[in-house]
Assembly symmetry: D2
Homo-oligomer: 337 residues x 4
């Protein structure tokens, strides 16, 4: 942390800041520039709040030097984290594809999709039993019935399952069924929920909030990690920008950036990232080319009848074509699938 | 809902869309333009999903005509909603100012602030007992002890209290103490929480998500209203943009826009909206000039020692000056305070 | 400028950075933290480029401490700049209102508007002769005929005039007529144009680019100031955000922020800032409440027939009402009008 | 164009709108819904302005159905446009890579880079002679001396050249040397400049404005096309968002979207799109995987000494590695390089 003093800060003001730094158990290091004096705070200053200094007389601003996350950082954990789920290895050389419907709608819809995505080469089955919907008038999911159908589909196909959990009190019931907890974009900063899944030992698939920076996102991962759950996967799913021609703007830059900053496996969701099924295949390839460890893709046997997100779902035959394209692509990226 | 057909859509494709519209119980109204045929869906189409038509062959896109919210709309409820809390009338001619610390930190801090803001003219006391913090290493609030201190401050000063509730399971305990539930920006789309407060009859103070449109925000209000709780206040608190010189960008346009679109009382939060105490007074005045029904402002007796948000908190003496300025201002706006 | 070294930077890498700093004529000031070593660059480092250090081995990042603008800054010019145009004083205690049509369309349209805004209390007449239009198929302005009509309207009413200049080669011809050059939002970083108006002594009204930070905007002002033209007025006109319910998001925070950072007069444009005439009056009042020195407002006698921006133009009678409201408002802000 | 009437619009208001539509030579098509009446405008309504109807009594809003661009659209020009420059074919099956320094700094710097990028496999040489810089205190380019060096490098290596033109008056001089005009992001809506290059027959490389939608961008292409110049290439170079960890957010979605909407060749600029050299290679691959027809990449022999953009420039050896990676990648995408 660097404390920048104002142009005309007095010696008394500078001394007072130094005293405050030292009173909190840190060392202060002064540097007198030609226009500003700056004071370096020496020590792990993550627990300090900016305003504790920014409001002292003569202070212009406080600049943070350290990344605020620690457990999620490669500085402190250089090796890639590998997450293992019922025989599927996530975060290694092999690309992992998660596929399935946005929402579990019926036994036949789910099973038909599960068999299709398995045959095409997906490793994990997705499906929402509890759905966060913008409108209270939209389909809200089948609830525990949906969870049971997911478990049945797992038994039938052998695919591990992932499903969203939306509130702390639902963690036990969802955890009874699912292999991976999905935390949705709207809940990325639902700290009560992060706290609850952090106390479990079930892997957590943490989607980026559509309004959140990569740094804030890794701070949310830090919540889970600091709870003791080391099995966290992060998933880029598009951010909100001024561009409205697509549902979101898939932040492709975030993928290699995350591979630099964190040891956690990095996934991408081209279905939500674009919101248009025609754009899913090209952006899915782009995400792998950029270094993603895996993909999550919405597949529905009859998208025009889907109860949610139909417009961004692939039909099984198109998903199969995409998987064939990916099999051609990944050797050029030194990955397997 | 308007269904726009592609440039070269065939007659068969057009008929198929019409059949689908009619199969769902709506009337279809065709209009043949020079470049496109469009199909109007006649009826309350809010329950329909765009993709149910967008994925049919020959369809280019679906355009929504109706606002998706109904209970929150002036179309269906032209008169202003008035919320009454222990003798304070919100949404009428009189401006209501809510003030207090970001977080309840101690008995003395809260009582000192409560007396100060009351004397300066605030009508309601704010204070967080449960705090949503970006970092798991930051102060997370006093919890129920904080709620008890708030109740004590209410008893001492006579000011009604408002405090944030962060998860559905906390609704009963927070509801036992508070006069108004605050839903924070990060929880604006926490639907489980909206559902829970919608089942109570305690007023709900719904802050805008930092990356949510006004339309989505009113859809979140719709969640509460459709649960049966008519006592909803909406509060603009700044949105996230590319500008980083301020913590958020206070969306001043949203204030008069909301007064057109909805009958609910509209508040503004210049503390979060700017993130800098020096900008709070000018923007507070601006919000009232734009038509806000009230303000929520962070006040702390010793901001440099605050456990959160110190940099945007006013000291009691500055808050008093601001209230004096507002008393001079509001007659020119045909309001009282 | 602070150079932050990587977690495991070696002593050799640190020395090499220090040598580079000194080789460029600056002093290097080292500070060894617990996780990072940082190197302060002592001297006016505005001419340095970040990458000159960021690319050296062992460097993690470079953090700028100084604002990049100098001539535009209050640090170096604490007193408010006052711009005087044919008897109108801009930047003083008196609020200045500029009004008129988006585009000059005809003699009668311009004169009718000019007389109306003068009578209502405007001090300066606006009108575009050259129009930047998103579509090549839209009305592009009357060109020099428009400039002549503006000059005629000035003669008739006594109001000074402001009009947009869009390219360096048009500076002489526009300068022959106008009292103030307007630089539009799309040209805020048209450096050839900034350079050209910087060489004149005609006041420059510099609108904020819809994609630009306040810092970049003051850097554009710096271009004009460094050319020798000290008569610069900055005008907030809304930025582009994810919100599409309004044409732009008027950045109300920028107004008091600019009053802190710069000595230049600060205006606001609620017509472009909102894009909807119903929102112009409330946001115009808000801008003055936030500290703006003046307003620029689009007025058209028959907005529904306007060749551009009709939807955000006020009719003369509504402009008159607004001016009456402003006359009631400004005493409470210790201003005159 | 669809005109949506208000909830309680009267029959007189509806008739008046219909009369206005017909008075402008269009047919009006009425559709009476349960909550709103809507009026379809039949005919090519691109020349109409929204406000001509939006301001009529009883009108709620106007919704555009047609894309505003025509010459740039696949609707009217289904086949891909191929641009040919001194034997290089742009927009076909073969990927084209443009490379070179951000700015031409010296003869040796340019020639060294030109030979290196040619050997690595680039087809076109880039280099800026006139530089748009945020600060008036930064290096502004060598001007015509830079153009001469570019011509010399072309002669020496046989590579065609591309360089930026920043103002209409510079079009003749830049056009004397360059094979392709580059229009930079800050000038995407500099209509005087678009007009000037539209009158030439030199290919135009049109970068996206950092805060412009894909639709606005194609409207800028339309300016050039409507001037008679059919040789336009569009280049995604990142947009501005709230994320500040990277210089821009490369909008990967825009690439396949453009391939749907327009027949023009689509390029991508991972150097500006990320602003960090470590992220250039992964995102370059991602852009090709998403369907880009080519790339433009900054290469500098000594980035730490570059006069601009050093931090995002590749060294020649890294560029060579990238080209090797691309050669492995493109067969899996059914392209050549």
């Amino acid at each position: 942390m660097i404390i920048v003093m104002k142009h005309q800060a007095t010696l008394e003001e500078i001394s007072a800041v130094v005293s405050q730094v030292e009173a909190r158990g840190y060392r202060a290091h002064l540097s007198h520039g030609t226009e500003r004096t700056i004071i370096g705070v020496v020590g792990d200053d993550r627990p300090l709040e900016n305003h504790q200094f920014e409001l002292l007389p003569g202070v212009e601003k406080v600049v943070r030097i350290l990344q605020p996350f620690k457990l999620a950082s490669r500085d402190f954990h250089p090796e890639n984290t590998i997450v293992r789920v019922r025989g599927v290895t996530i975060g290694g050389k092999q690309i992992v594809v998660i596929a399935g419907p946005c929402a579990v709608e019926s036994r036949s819809q789910l099973l038909e999709t599960a068999y299709a995505v398995k045959e095409a080469g997906a490793s994990i089955l997705r499906g929402g039993a509890y759905k966060p919907r913008t409108s209270p008038y939209s389909f809200q999911g089948l609830g525990e019935d949906g969870l049971e159908l997911l478990a049945e589909a797992r038994e039938a196909t052998g695919l591990p399952i992932i499903t969203e959990v939306m509130s702390p009190e639902a963690v036990p019931i969802v955890g009874k069924y699912t292999d991976i907890f999905q935390i949705g974009a709207r809940n990325m900063q639902n700290y009560a929920l992060l706290h609850a899944v952090g106390k479990t030992r079930t892997p957590v698939f943490l989607k980026r909030g559509m309004m959140n920076t990569v740094q804030e996102w890794l701070m949310s991962a830090e919540y889970v990690l600091s709870g003791g759950n080391q099995q966290v996967i992060v998933c880029e799913r598009g951010i909100r920008t001024f561009e409205t021609a697509t549902r979101n703007t898939l932040d492709i830059n975030a993928i290699p950036l995350l591979k630099q900053w964190t040891h956690l496996p990095v996934f991408a969701d081209p279905s939500h990232g674009t919101g248009k099924w025609e754009l899913v295949a090209p952006t899915a390839k782009a995400c792998l080319a950029a270094g993603a460890d895996g993909l999550i893709i919405e597949v529905h046997p009859h998208p025009e009848q889907a109860l949610s997100d139909g417009v961004q779902s692939l039909k099984p035959e198109r998903f199969k074509e995409l998987m064939e394209d990916l099999r051609r692509l990944v050797p050029a990226l030194d990955r397997t699938i």
